[in-house]
Symmetry: C2
Subunit: 348 residues, 2 copies
């Protein structure tokens, strides 16, 4: 009976032990009752439940996590939050997590390598049960991911993935999708098709580039290096890349453009319009990702619709399955897409 014990007693925060004392039972029984364990007398369980409600007892998950070495929490790392694609993905993640009783710690890397690394480290410190990552553009070194996996924290990549390092990957078939839009243009007679390519370091940039090339080869067309310009994933890059291309003499200009994603396409469209050229009559253009703005711009954009919500949901479900040992890591999950034909490709 130390004095500190006495003085604290009055304002003591309610813990399982406090409830137990009120009821003249042990903390262990309180814990068992609240967790729905079978080995508790129904009568005892009812008394515990009533007391818990009466005193407003909320079990301390932190202590629980420490004892169980499980937090029922998933760490999420996205490169950006505002881009309309990610909020939908996050919604899918949240829904799946909620159903399974997991919570989300959300971080964003702002496309920055070191901030991503930092986020992953802190998330590990917080002992998340697993990680859901879409890589930042500047990431080139994958050893950090491997280390994390080696330490027993499973990773599921989505959208921007890193394959063959033991992590499950969820994405669309980027190569195939880009081949589809490119073929769509080829099928309508376009010959000089240009590509606004994405960053070389990001998986989807590389894959889409491949798809573009594959489509051309399949139609017996040579790949013209001068028609491939790096643009990044944003409007500005798309605009600048298109500007550059429009400096070419008229007969060398492309008659169509495959942009790595919709924002890049919007930028390119702006450049085309500023040059007083018409879409699709003078230059046709297609994008990828089905941004909300795609159907609203002056010449509605033909694009590939990515089911963002489904990607998030599938990724979270896969991660939880791995966490709970119901599934092995390293799977590749491909989510289905849809070609949205609008006016910008000139075939309507």
């Amino acid at each position: 009976m130390s004095k500190s014990r006495n003085s604290a007693k009055a304002s003591r925060r309610i813990t399982a032990e406090v409830i137990a004392a009120k009821l003249g039972i042990s903390a262990m029984t309180v814990s068992r009752a609240l967790n729905g364990r079978p080995n508790v007398l129904k009568k005892t369980r009812d008394r515990v439940l009533a007391a818990a409600k009466k005193y407003g007892y909320t079990p301390n998950h932190i202590a629980r996590s420490l004892a169980l070495r499980r937090t029922e929490t998933i760490g999420v790392v996205v490169p950006e939050i505002s881009h309309s694609f990610f909020p939908e993905v996050i919604r899918g993640i949240e829904d799946a997590a909620y159903s399974a009783g997991y919570h989300l710690i959300l971080t964003h890397s702002a496309e920055d390598d070191s901030r991503e690394k930092d986020a992953i480290m802190t998330l590990q410190s917080k002992r998340v049960d697993g990680l859901l990552i879409s890589t930042a553009q500047t990431v080139t070194d994958h050893s950090g991911y491997k280390e994390t996996i080696a330490q027993g924290v499973p990773i599921v990549f989505f959208d921007r993935v890193v394959q063959n390092i033991g992590a499950t990957c969820v994405s669309i078939d980027d190569e195939e999708c880009c081949a589809i839009v490119t073929e769509h243009l080829l099928g309508h007679g376009y010959k000089a098709i240009s590509h606004r390519r994405g960053p070389r370091t990001v998986s989807i940039g590389k894959a889409r580039m491949k798809g573009y090339q594959r489509a051309l080869s399949r139609h017996g067309l040579a790949v013209r290096r001068d028609l491939i310009v790096q643009s990044g994933f944003h409007e500005k890059g798309g605009y600048l890349a298109m500007e550059k291309l429009l400096q070419l003499p008229a007969h060398e200009r492309p008659d169509a453009v495959v942009a790595v994603n919709d924002p890049a396409a919007f930028g390119a469209m702006k450049a085309i319009q500023e040059h007083r050229l018409r879409i699709p009559q003078d230059i046709a253009i297609v994008g990828m990702s089905d941004d909300v703005r795609a159907e609203l711009v002056v010449s509605p954009l033909t694009t590939i619709k990515q089911p963002a919500y489904e990607i998030g949901k599938a990724a979270a479900e896969a991660l939880i399955a791995v966490i709970e040992g119901k599934e092995d890591p390293g799977r590749k999950i491909i989510v289905q897409t849809e070609l949205m034909i609008r006016k910008s490709c000139g075939c309507l």
Copy 2:
């Protein structure tokens, strides 16, 4: 020396104690070194840092949180994630939290009362240091919030706020903003101005309604009940409400519409166009929130720009200040807005 201790040693997870053992010092010194406490020999600190890196030691924040009774984590509850407004708010929150060394647990209520309650409870179980909430539409009872605050968990409401219960509130001046757009229409000669009002249970719905009425009164116009129709916050509601209004005989129809927000305005616009009426010539319309689509629709929407990012940032900063005892709870923070004049109001 129990046997379990021996057998576990080999695969033991690296803790401060493990690092300490390797170095022949105590766990406490490791802790001190890693937390940058002054009372550690520089030489010792360097050895600890090196060993930590070598063995890939990441301090266990869960244990730390338990000991400190602080998690450095903020719980966020938003009614929806996809609506373009909230992602920007979340980005602001994340940035402010990141700078201050806090993490975010993100939940969404899906506009559902009980799901929100559930989220708040679990968040409290996870012992977040504070809560950032934008209320769900169906919430009518505020006693849950009060209880949470009484238990010592500070709340900051943003956008959809609950005033006078001891929580800091961050929002735009909804009443004033709605008065401004309404006055803008009145100033350009519109007489029969209709309102697509929001849900009665949500603070911003009520405040905007008031602003609309105030502007009318100020111009000596009576409020016509038949021109006020509830629409909710979404396109569909805006559409249905407008449909209803267009059933009125032509001379009783409004010549302008003040929508509670942009999505509701889009819905209304759709209805107007389906009736082959022109915007703004036949019916002018203004919104509120500056959705990304506002400037892209056929008749670009005049609206109030809400600085979503700033709202999130201000809310997170205020919460952290309260958590760290640097500020008292209960403040009202008003974020500045901007009137974006486009074509839909007919004054360009």
